[in-house]
Symmetry: C2
Subunit: 126 residues, 2 copies
DNA sequence: TCTTGACTTGGAGTCAACTCCAAGTGCTAT
DNA sequence: ATAGCACTTGGAGTTGACTCCAAGTCAAGA
């Protein structure tokens, strides 16, 4: 699969795909004899994983570390487990924060909906 | 309340508090006759709101817009309602993404936990 | 009064994560 | 075989959100 196809499939720029590879967020991608990227099934799995982690807001740095450990071999399995568990913890925390903010927005929105009918917003400061 | 007290209360640097005010993410803070910040109840509400929105990952830009509308008066109530509803939509989307990533991590972690016992990870590519 | 320390400002610097660019290479269709 | 286009690289530029700094001000205690 060419870089163009991958970029279209995942709605991500070619520049970003090259950037992910350059910084080590995914392992080096398979190339044609001419040096052109030709993403294999496995390369695609890495791309998909990277996009998934990034879209949840996890740092590029953590994926770089994960790939580094992965390429070091099976002895790093406990370290990888720890890394993934840490990131899950961060996401659970982040989700709590988002839920709190959604709740707050729900409250404000309900008050604004009433205000839209009356044309005036009562008591709250902000 | 002084900037020092506010920064300690919310575990945020004084620099960040001044930055929030400077860019208009919160309205201008009450000052003493000598020009020193003296946060009122209302100022504190704004700070708290700003911190809440930021901790969920919403952009500074949107709070600037909200404050701008707020200061324009009651005619902007429908616009503010729209703005808040849009941000809620973004957060709901973001939460979905986080949930998907947590699910993915759960799966990987469970596989790694098995691998830690056997010392070897079977089949998966990454 | 003089010093100390917390405050003020405007502006510059940093960091993560892209995003863009220039110069060069190589497949493909006419 | 040559024009055109998609690809390559290394490196520079951009954006958002802080974070730091220098120079100055002000209130309070020795």
């Amino acid at each position: 699969m060419t870089i163009k196809e991958v970029s279209e499939k995942h709605e991500i720029t070619q520049d970003t795909l090259r950037y992910y590879e350059r910084v080590g967020m995914i392992p080096p991608v398979t190339r044609t004899s001419g040096g052109i990227r030709n993403y294999s099934e496995e390369d695609l799995s890495w791309v998909e994983l990277a996009i998934c982690m990034r879209s949840a807001g996890l740092p590029v740095e953590m994926m770089i570390e994960y790939v580094r450990l992965f390429r070091e071999g099976d002895t790093t399995i406990p370290a990888r487990l720890q890394l993934l568990a840490d990131q899950r913890e961060i996401l659970l925390e982040q989700r709590k924060q988002i839920d709190a903010t959604i709740e707050r927005l729900n409250y404000k929105i309900s008050r604004y909906e009433i205000a839209v009918k009356t044309g005036k917003l009562t008591w709250e400061k902000c």
